[in-house]
């Protein structure tokens, strides 16, 4: 699914996840710093007490026991101390080294030699606690030291295992919660944007259905007072305006047609009546030619108005399902004798029924115009091939001939009004009308000269849409 909802929710989630992650990193470093500060304060206090005890206790046989027990007591004060596998505590050690650097007293797990070596190698500053890595222990110790009167050093170490454990559990809990929140956020953002965008899509679909002379429909609106509903309202107001100007155009063309046709009817009627009373050829000839001119004028009027309306995308359509294959066969049947009379050969290539949903009268006139055009302009002994193809969503009708082709000068503007070849005696509306009908049906027309010589006109019309594709065989009526 290539939807904007995906993109928006992905970006929003990414920004949210990064933001919360940064906040957590700050929070965690603050917590870690705070724990360390507390540990250091405890260590410094205890090591001072121990130093005091060690200094006051006489250096006799009991010295080891007294100081050792005080150190044990201090170790028990460590809060939330987990029992280690061995049962005795290995999270705290007490170490006294003599002035010569030898191990004088040791309380804790193991022999204490490793610790002493690590202290000697790393060097623990006497003024503030520092980290100490001891070989054989995965977790470093925090060690505070003090120097007593006899020149020996007392070291008190506390494993950082507890601190790390607390931070680890904090991280784990945060990660789980974070993932849940990010997922939830993603879901909420995705659903809400999708809902909003689905409304936009509805508007788009409705708007694309509107137009091409069907201006009654409106895009769906909601009662919510947000941007999307404003968009819908604005579109609808715009459609109101378009509809009203379209209506105005229709009123103008209709009244123009009506106002011209009524006098034309009267004139034609009077001419015909005078024709019936006229007797000799000298009198009738001008009347007959006047009637012919009048009919040409009428045809011009009709086509002009159609073309004008179509140029404004305002041609009114009465649609029904038409089989183009059937229509072409009937049309060719109608035109074939005239073509062969002029020495023209016509061939139809069609792969069977092609249903379009279109205005039958307009499509009939369009095809008749195409064939009239060929009939009028092709020199004798030419061949006209008509090909009908039904693609997935469009029907294409291609007319090719091996005549002289279009005048290159007019080819560019061939579908414009009043454009015609030099030797054409029409009113220059034929191809403009074909273009107008195709446009009204959301189709296209293209004209070109073939490389091998001759003209090529291709008309594309959209196929019947799914819901209206019930098939009926129209066009050719039989006698009752």
């Amino acid at each position: 699914m290539r939807s904007a909802a995906w993109r928006i929710s992905l970006w929003a989630t990414l920004a949210f996840a990064c933001g919360t992650m940064v906040v957590f990193v700050f929070l965690q470093s603050f917590v870690a710093g705070d724990i360390q500060r507390r540990t250091d304060a405890w260590l410094s206090g205890e090591v001072e007490v121990l130093g005091d005890v060690a200094e006051r206790t006489p250096k006799d046989a009991l010295y080891d026991r007294v100081v050792g027990e005080v150190a044990e007591l201090a170790a028990r004060e460590v809060p939330d101390k987990p029992a280690s596998e061995s049962g005795s505590s290995d999270s705290v050690f007490f170490l006294q080294s003599g002035g010569d650097g030898s191990l004088k007293l040791w309380v804790g797990a193991g022999s204490g030699e490793d610790h002493l070596r690590a202290i000697k190698a790393g060097g623990v500053p006497s003024d503030h606690p520092a980290d100490l890595r001891v070989p054989g222990f995965a977790v470093p110790f925090r060690v505070a030291s003090i120097r007593i009167g006899d020149g020996s050093h007392i070291f008190l170490g506390l494993s950082e295992r507890d601190e790390l454990r607390v931070l680890k559990s904090l991280r784990l809990r945060f990660l789980l919660l974070w993932m849940a929140i990010v997922l939830l956020g993603f879901g909420i953002v995705f659903l809400s944007t999708r809902r909003m965008l689905s409304h936009v899509r509805e508007i788009t679909e409705a708007a694309s259905r509107i137009g091409h002379s069907d201006l009654n429909a409106r895009v769906p609106t909601t009662r919510r007072n947000d941007e999307v509903s404003h968009l819908a309202l604005t579109l609808n107001r715009m459609l109101d305006r378009i509809e009203s100007s379209m209506h105005q155009l229709h009123t103008i063309t209709d009244s123009l047609a009506h106002d011209l046709r009524s006098p034309l009817t009267a004139i034609r009627g009077k001419l015909e009546m005078s024709l019936s009373t006229a007797t000799d050829g000298e009198q009738t000839e001008p009347i007959v030619s006047a009637i012919d001119e009048l009919d040409r004028l009428t045809d011009f009027l009709n086509k002009s108005l159609d073309v004008a309306e179509a140029k404004a995308d305002a041609l009114r359509l009465t649609r029904s399902t038409i089989d183009l294959d059937e229509l072409l066969r009937v049309m060719i049947d109608l035109y074939e004798p005239s073509m062969s009379e002029r020495g023209l050969h016509v061939e139809l290539f069609s792969g069977g029924p092609v249903a379009i949903f279109a205005d039958a009268a307009l499509v009939h006139r369009m095809v008749a115009n195409l064939l009239d055009n060929e009939l009028k302009h092709l020199p004798p002994a030419c061949t006209l091939t008509i090909e009908l193809r039904g693609n997935e969503d469009a029907a294409s009708l291609i007319l090719e001939d091996d005549g002289p082709g279009f005048d290159p000068e007019v080819l560019e503007h061939i579908f414009e009004r009043r454009v015609k070849g030099r030797d054409s005696n029409g009113h220059g509306l034929g191809l403009a009308f074909i273009d107008a009908v195709a446009r009204a049906h959301r189709g296209t027309v293209a004209a070109s000269n073939r490389e091998s010589g001759g003209a090529r006109i291709s008309v594309t019309l959209p196929l019947a849409s799914g819901e209206t594709a019930h098939f009926s065989v129209p066009a050719k009526s039989s006698l009752r």
């Binding site: 063309t253 009506h258 009267a266 009627g269 009546m273 019936s276 009465t318 115009n369």
Partner: protein, 225 residues
Amino acid sequence: MRLLLVEDEIDIQSFLRRSLEEAGYEVEAAPDGKTAERLAVDNLFDILIVDLGLPDQDGITLILRLRQLGVRAPVLILSARRSVDDRVRGLEQGGDDYLTKPFALAELLARLRNLLKRNSPAASEATRLRVLDLELDLLRREASRGGQVLQLTQQEFVLLEYLCRNAGRVVTRSMILDKVWGMRIQPDTNVVDVHIYRLRGKVDGIGQQPLIRTMRGVGYVLKDR
């Protein structure tokens, strides 16, 4: 034949009245829908001509109203409009006919005669048509003249059948296009004429009396006497 002409344009009304009377109709004219309704209820007409653009109401509304009031006569609808209303198509399905302005008088008369004939009960379901020595077998789709079978294509047979059914009456090119090919188009070229020439070549043999006559500027007629 009594005819009611409903048309508000005085010019058109007057020339139509004259030509219709010349053609043998007894014409009553009404300039608006109200008058037309009164006349149609009080008198019995054989056929009506109704213009769609009446000053007081829509022509189709009038026709539907008259049908409700029990007027059964066929109607020829005249329209100066550009698009054909769906309701007009409906009426056409119901046996009425329509003609756009401007029209040829001959076309109008031909369509009137066609409507009258269509409406008469004698309209045959016969399987054979006979005009002078021309005979059409509608079941076997076969035509013969003076006993000689004519070699007609399917389309030529349909065309000849249409001419035979209207024997003695003028049929116009647009009527032929409408009824034989099912299209309301006005070709710029003489496509219908070429069909008639070809048909004439087969029907009217050398030495035979020509049956298919051209009425210049109007259309064609199949002679029946």
